[in-house]
């Protein structure tokens, strides 16, 4: 006889899923601090997550910088405040656009790739093969990937902000007489230490979320190739959903520190 459900099939699955995810996160922290450490694999994953994301981050950051500056100019010109453009763009990029763009691109590129890779390893018994050869697959596969995304995405975010500011400078220099140093001084006039730190912390949280969700979905993938597709897809969807929720919470906290 099959087991009766506590609430309903859907509700039970949902709550068991949350419980499993909490256990998974707990296991990550436990395994991350216990030796042996897979340094080589962590470095390899940092390269995969970071270096291979550079072209896409560069292109998206640069275009965002140009487009955001272009779209903001008419409103500022209307109020006679065109000189505020560099500050406005810098605040928008550092506080909001760079962390979000980096996180969403990484969720799509890295999250799906981790979900698919681990899912494929699960259904083809590669994870079982590690386990029976007395290698801890959680440490080798999950800890290394989550650490890589948590370390690399903040760096990518800072790089994205820099490239977006270059895009903004390009647009400003085409329309106004300014030089690089003047633009830079004006842009960072309004940026505080808290702005940068809040964004770095945001990117760390986003990086951890992308890594842990991709690993969780992939590690527990089942049902063959269909399961691999689902793992990749749900890694992206769930990561993006959580990134937006985390964005709201962290902005709220940062604003309360600023006294807004």
């Amino acid at each position: 006889m099959s087991k009766p459900y506590v609430i309903s099939k859907k509700a039970d699955t949902f709550f068991y899923g949350i419980y499993d995810a909490i256990l998974f996160i707990g296991r990550f922290f436990k395994e991350a601090v216990q030796p042996p450490y897979e340094f080589h694999e962590i470095v390899r994953q940092c390269y995969e997550v970071g270096y291979r994301s550079l072209p896409l981050i560069s292109l998206t950051g640069f275009i965002t910088g140009i487009v955001f500056t272009k779209q903001s100019r008419p409103s500022l010109v209307e109020f006679g405040a065109a000189s505020w453009l560099p500050s406005l763009v810098a605040i928008a990029i550092v506080r909001a656009l760079a962390p979000l763009i980096t996180a969403l691109i990484s969720a799509g590129r890295v999250g799906s790739s981790i979900g698919a890779e681990l899912g494929s390893m699960r259904v083809t018994e590669q994870i079982d093969a590690m386990e029976v050869s007395a290698v801890n697959p959680f440490k080798f596969l999950v800890v290394s990937r989550v650490l890589a995304t948590t370390i690399t995405i903040p760096i990518l975010m800072l790089y994205c902000a820099l490239v977006a500011m270059l895009g903004a400078f390009l647009n400003v220099s085409q329309n106004e007489e300014t030089n690089f140093v003047a633009f830079w001084e004006s842009a960072f006039d309004q940026i505080t230490f808290l702005d940068v730190w809040a964004s770095v912390i945001k990117a760390i949280v986003f990086g951890f979320t992308i890594g842990i969700i991709g690993c969780y979905k992939g590690y527990y993938a089942s049902k063959g190739t269909e399961g691999v597709g689902k793992a990749a897809n749900s890694s992206v969807v769930l990561s993006m959903f959580l990134i937006f929720i985390e964005e709201v919470i962290i902005v709220q906290i940062a604003n309360s520190i600023r006294g807004y």
């Binding site: 006889m1 042996p36 494929s120 018994e125 590690m130 007395a134």
Partner: protein, 257 residues
């Protein structure tokens, strides 16, 4: 010609299974299984798909835990081991997977090095290379060392999968459907390799298969699994010298297929 198998010690069981039960929900896969595997012998677990053959070796390797019953491997009860003890026991067990389960993001060299460098400390680069080349040579695939798994045929993957387990010099080998999906010639080569491994390393093995040719070539004893229980255990001739309908139909189907 009958090979000398004096290394088989029937007084010493390396795997001892008693009254083993395993279910998945309402599906009762193993229902009171008893089996002894002696030192140095090859035992073939024969049966139709879905009868719980693979579940049996996954329990022996600690990938699954039994619901009830005793599984003793090299003197240790598998369900009573903590994580560290289980890891130590696994070093003595080699598991060859049905689909080889080679790490597809690594070259053949990296696949073979993977368990070695993690478990045998203080090996120099030269010693690692020597071990890898030696084990690769023993399965006759030295030329594939720098290839990726995706570049190999099914039979080659099986051989590399076996080589990867041999690199840690296991005492017990578990083969999950070693000839599944292979052509007859390659199947015979794999069967011969299983016998070579037994002769050279004196391993005790469980070979899971539904292929009677494989069972006949590799098995010192055959255990026929049916509906979650062993129907008959003995040599190939002993198992199939019967009028029992389920055994006969399995035999006839295999050799007329």
């Amino acid at each position: 010609m009958q090979k000398d198998k004096s290394y088989i010690d029937t007084s010493k069981a390396v795997i001892n299974i008693r009254d083993l039960y395993k279910s998945f929900g309402d599906l009762h896969v193993l229902r009171g299984v008893d089996l002894d595997v002696y030192k140095g012998e090859n035992v073939v677990v024969l049966g139709r798909s879905g009868t719980g053959k693979s579940v049996l070796i996954k329990i022996i390797s600690g990938l699954l835990m039994p619901d009830k019953g005793k599984v003793n491997v090299l003197g240790k009860d598998i369900d009573k081991l903590d994580h560290k003890e289980l890891m130590a026991l696994r070093l003595k067990i080699g598991f060859s997977f049905q689909n080889s389960a080679l790490y597809d993001s690594m070259t053949i060299r990296e696949n073979l090095e993977f368990p070695l460098v993690r478990h045998v400390k203080n090996l120099s680069r030269g010693e690692v290379n020597k071990e890898v080349e030696s084990v690769l040579d023993s399965v006759g695939l030295s030329q594939t060392i720098n290839q990726m798994p995706s570049e190999l045929s099914g039979g080659q993957k099986k051989r590399i999968g076996i080589a990867r387990t041999l690199i840690l010099k296991p005492e017990i080998m578990l083969y999950d459907e070693p000839t599944a999906g292979l052509d007859p010639i390659t199947s015979i080569e794999i069967n011969e390799l299983i016998n070579e491994v037994q002769d050279r390393y004196h391993t005790s093995s469980i070979i899971i298969t539904h292929d009677l040719t494989c069972a006949k070539i590799t098995g010192d004893r055959i255990a026929m699994l049916f509906d979650g229980q062993f129907l008959r255990v003995g040599t190939f001739e002993e198992v199939f010298d019967t009028d029992e309908e389920r055994v006969r139909s399995f035999y006839d189907y295999n050799f007329t297929e």
